[in-house]
Amino acid sequence: MRVDVSSLDKPFSESYDYVIVGSGAAGATAARELADTGRSVCVLEEGPAVAPSEFNDRAFDSFKRLFRDMGGQVARGRAFIPVIQGRCLGGSTVINSAIVWRMPGDVWEPWRNEYGLGDALPIDELHRNWDKIEKELYVAETPPEAWGRFNELMHDGAKRLGAAAAATRRNVKGCRGSMRCLTGCPNDAKQSMLISYLPYAERRGAALVTGAKAEQVVCEGDRAVGVRGRGFHVRARRAVLIAASAIQTPGLLGRSGVDSVHLGEHFQGHPGCPVVGLFERPVNMWKGATQGYDCDHYRKEGRFKIETIGLPPEIVFARMAGAGARWKATMAEAPYAAIFAVQMRAHAHGTVKERFFGTDIQFDPNRRDMMQMRRGVRFAAELLFAAGAKTVLPGIFGLPERLTSPDQLPLIEAASDHPASYNWIVSHLFGTARMSRRACDGVIGTDFAVHGTKNLFVIDSSLFPTNIGVNPQHSIMAIAMLAAQRIAAGAKP
């Protein structure tokens, strides 16, 4: 059953066993798991339900319908960093590149050793869930026929440098390499939650309620009994599961009376910067899998990963230099451009707080992060030159706009330490309601319940005690699945 609250004449009011707030990777996975138990499930989504047949390749239309704040949500610090999130049925899985990485062991070990979460999030159970998800969502390496030239270029560059790199594993089925992940896959190839786990849960009786922004979890004593917002009030007989993302979850918990000094703190991310290479022959980045190849050579030691990315012309143009005739001249180079993005596992912690003007995200890469990012930009530039780029645009204020020889790479090392000199974006978000054994160390317990409550659970990446250095969708899903399995069984770790 699907309900669009914004189209109803009277408030929507129903009772379910489980109420899930958020329909992205975490919420949909929990819905899929709980729907299998035969209990009634309701998934609340703030954004609209947009069918794949309605997706188009114009960025403005997509940003308006599918992205939070039209893509204009920013983290404030010494630089403005766009924080990209989906706001539609299926959440960010509708607009991401379907990249699948299991959480590396070297990331999980500190979760066990330093945070004491080995029993709460046992790695063998996570692997079991990853196996299940990978089977159900057709996870496989991007095949060469879907690469397109821009993915091929990273393959070539990494091979020449002897760097560890591979075709990206993605949850897609029959990808045609239309480079439209960002604006919504029109071919139903990407197995976003919109076309996979949400319909699965729906077929088993789950209600998908859109246009329903959760304002507050209604509690009676230490029990959550429902969720309400403008135009709806749903009651929860067994539990409320929050999967609203590391940005929205702390605000919702705060409005619902959860009081913890850790709420909205410890915000971490994977800020990224693009590096553009210009080649002699056309690259045509709009033909190929949006993100089909990545290089994790420095993931562990350097805390960054390099990924290819194809972007629609609108987004590429905005970042090209110049005004007037010169802007047109740089735009005309777009067919010859390949973009390698540096994705960094930042050390910096930020905050996410509710203010009178809305959600306030504060995040500022620190000195160590800036050193890492410079190293990442340099390596991305090196990869591009190795792949045959004639010119590299490092995108760092204060450096020459164009580097024309690998001999100029040392300039990047001497670049500014100030975040405002770089073009950032952040889309992997963690830690604002982190899991902890003791209430004094975090917001939720090892049973996924908010400390001091019985059945108010958090199952999204807000619970992560640290960022993870790889694309998080798969980890979010495996952990949400684990949480749902435990919640359904009423088990305590």
């Binding site: 960025a59 709009w286 110049g322 005004a323």
Partner: protein
């Protein structure tokens, strides 16, 4: 509705002609209709940011090249130089305002089928 000073900024940013493959100007690509949609549907913060960017381009950018504002009273080469100076300013906020200006214009310009055809972007 855009006033003449604002139009002068946008026409400087993406004029008609000026490139053999991308001859289309911003207004040839239907920016007036796009702007109406943008004003009505985009986040208020983005709409106001865009207006602030137009203001900065019109009134502050000429000062950066030691000319008197507004931008609309300058010759085209000076107008382009002034906007370039905005993008190279040491003040981060000014650079960000130009980026916002370009991002909104690019939403319209990059979606035009003629522009996409010129770049070889496949038709959907």
């Amino acid at each position: 509705m855009l006033n003449n000073r604002q139009r002068a900024v946008l026409d400087t940013l993406l004029p008609s002609g000026g490139h053999p493959a991308l001859g289309l100007g911003l207004f040839d690509a239907g920016f007036d209709a796009f702007y109406e949609d943008f004003e009505g549907t985009a986040q208020p913060s983005m709409v106001w940011g865009f207006k602030a960017a137009l203001f900065a381009a019109s009134w502050l950018s000429p000062v950066l090249i030691l000319r008197l504002p507004p931008l609309s009273r300058l010759e085209r080469p000076d107008r382009e130089r002034a906007l370039e100076a905005l993008g190279k300013s040491r003040f981060y906020l000014l650079r960000q305002l130009l980026l916002l200006l370009k991002a909104v214009c690019a939403f319209c310009y990059g979606a035009d089928p003629r522009v996409r055809d010129a770049l070889g972007f496949p038709r959907s």
